[in-house]
Amino acid sequence: MKKIWWKILAVLMVAGSIVAGLLGPVPELPILNETIRNVYFHVPMWFTMVFLYLISVIYSIKYLNTNNRNYDLMAVEAVNTGILFCACGLLTGMLWANITWGDPWPNDPKLNGSAIATLMYLAYLVLRNALEEEQKRAKISAIYNIFAFPIMLVLLYILPKMTDSLHPGNGGNSTFGDLDMDNNIRPIFYTAVIGWILIGAWITSLRYRVRLIDDKKNSF
């Protein structure tokens, strides 16, 4: 029971946020209308993705300091799960954009930035495949991971603020929190964010453990 409490909590929080998100009261706003409920699903995906990439960078740094192979496996599985959440974030975002902005892929810096950030992490995975030797692979991919992370932050958080953007909180727009959220939304939103982050951590830890078993099976 000691170790699974946070998994139960994650399921309860996500389940609760889905039920409350679809049934709960929301403010009626022009253009957004009922699609404001997507804030419970779209935004937590990105929070989870950045959280997982952060975990991955932390484990890459740990790997460089200790040369413990398990840290490298953790870093790559965090990236794998992060890419999954990025895909979910893009899909929910495209649904939302199609209704509110009239186009699933409008020319928006935040959209393009997240797509490019995904390219960066796919390149990380390709780099891993290019290297045969295990230690070398772990070390060099850890270096690229750390090198790319600050640039990803620029791409996702600084660049959209400098140019015109459709997203709230960017390019001089007021943030979503100031304008559109009311006190009915906030608690459900925070529950969803924490719940999805926990789910992301859970998926990562499962993948990591499968990887460890695989690793043990393949080594002599």
Binding site: L64, P109, L127, I146, F147, A148, I151, V154
Partner: protein, 219 residues
């Protein structure tokens, strides 16, 4: 030797080696000039947006080709020799400085040839030159580290391209914006934000390279 004199010696060594063969520099200059000609022959005349973007794309590919070579000579025994006499920080710093010098030469040539052949009015030449200067500096700092990584991964150009494109795109977006504003005649007051972000990214990139290269170097 302290770090400074080590860097000075290493840069001097790279320049002398390049000057003796002149192979890399001539081939890359020829590459730039012929690319400009290909673009000119196919476009004939373009509007200012395309003109500006095309210049940066030519420069991007020339830079990738030039930087791809940075660690080509440093293999095997020679690496071991350097490892025993200089600090890895000096090596990466020297490579960044040498590549920055190479990029200044390259982008100056590209800019002059491009302007001679493709005539276009630039509203604010000073800011445009500043953006070209910052662009070559950014290409040098980012590509040097990526070239180091790709050299360890067997030095093939595909790896170099897929690793460096996502990293350089944010810089390229800001550079194109800055230089496009310069073409339209923006004043320095409007451009400070972009210049500041570019400088900040360069400082961060150099700092991370200095931190990470010692790990990359050790085999």
């Amino acid at each position: 030797m302290n770090l400074f004199s080590q860097v000075k010696t290493l840069v001097y060594k790279d320049v002398v080696l390049e000057w003796r063969s002149k192979y890399a520099i001539n081939s890359i200059l020829l590459y730039v000039v012929s690319t400009v000609f290909v673009c000119y022959q196919s476009f004939k005349s373009v509007d200012s947006t395309v003109w500006n973007t095309l210049f940066w794309i030519i420069l991007l590919f020339a830079a990738i080709n030039a930087m791809n070579r940075s660690f080509l000579q440093e293999t095997g025994n020679r690496q071991l020799y350097y490892y025993s006499i200089v600090s890895p920080k000096a090596i990466i710093l020297a490579k960044i400085i040498y590549n920055a010098l190479l990029m200044f030469l390259l982008s100056a040539t590209a800019f002059i040839v491009y302007n001679l052949i493709f005539k276009n009015d630039i509203g604010n030449l000073t800011i445009y030159l500043v953006s070209v200067f910052l662009g070559s500096l950014s290409f040098a700092t980012v590509f040097t580290m990526v070239a180091g990584i790709s050299a360890k991964a067997g030095n093939n150009s595909t790896i170099m391209a897929i690793l460096s494109f996502p990293v350089i795109i944010p810089l390229l977006i800001i550079l194109i914006k800055l230089s496009h504003n310069a073409v339209l005649g923006a004043t320095i007051a409007v451009s400070w934000g972009d210049i500041g972000v570019l400088l900040a990214i360069n400082v961060v990139t150099i700092a991370i390279s200095l931190l990470l290269f010692p790990y990359l170097w050790r085999d």
